[in-house]
Subunit: 148 residues, 2 copies
């Protein structure tokens, strides 16, 4: 069992909640998937492992995982929310391909610095931020060199 599971366990204990078999399955699948999953995605994956898991449980568990600090919500401009787990990932932003939907994780310390400065300039106390660049990824950019 990963140390992430311990973090989640401690979080649950702290709230008087239980680390049930369903929550274990859902957490593990979520942590082992290097992808940006919607509740529905995770529900489908979880069902493969346990035929009886319900959608509501996945939804609730993902919410708890997020509260525990192990995940954050991301928005790629779709209707549905997605989640990404944060273990083994430093803070990062995204390049999102509008063609294939692929999301590349990126980080630029200079940008981060400037964001801090920018906030300061307005007397603003930043707690978190979000930056997404939309466009065509390398592959899709090659495939579509001549926009119609």
């Amino acid at each position: 069992m990963k140390k992430e599971a311990d973090v989640f366990f401690e979080f649950l204990v702290g709230k008087g909640l239980k680390f049930t078999s369903q929550r274990k399955i859902i957490l593990n699948i979520f942590l082992n998937t290097e992808d940006h999953l919607s509740v529905d995605d995770l529900f489908v994956l979880s069902r493969r492992e346990d035929e009886t898991i319900g959608y509501a449980t996945v939804h609730r568990t993902l919410k708890l995982i997020k509260e525990s600090g192990l995940a954050r919500e991301v928005d790629f401009g779709e209707k549905r929310k997605r989640f990404e787990h944060l273990f083994g990932h430093k803070h990062h932003d995204h390049l999102i391909c509008t063609k294939c939907g692929d999301a590349i994780e990126v980080f630029d310390p200079k940008i981060e610095k400037l964001q801090e400065k920018l906030a300061q300039k307005y007397g603003f106390k930043p707690s978190f931020h979000r930056m997404e660049i939309f466009g065509l990824c390398k592959k899709c950019g090659k495939r579509e060199p001549h926009p119609v």
Copy 2:
């Protein structure tokens, strides 16, 4: 009538659509409000001017305005979408106060440059981006100097 209305008119004509009285009212109110409006906000405002305008019409018109390039969708982490008009506004990003909901428009050319570079580094062709910094605005930061 503003030149923005001309842009919208041309857009409509290009699609074989009509610049009706409802669309005029909705467009004008939208352009004259320096705020980030939801469909519902705009619906309420429009009703003040014309008691008979329907929600669906506001929704559809806002969609058209967006398609015409006069507006873009913004997401301040709420449930509902908001829209901001782009005329008289250069490209900008936002500082969003998580306490009072206020959104400050900001722009930093250095960040923009670095975003371009960052994309390049990954062979990514950016078409647009989004950057939001969440935290406490000047006022709210002062009011709450000691987090509990």
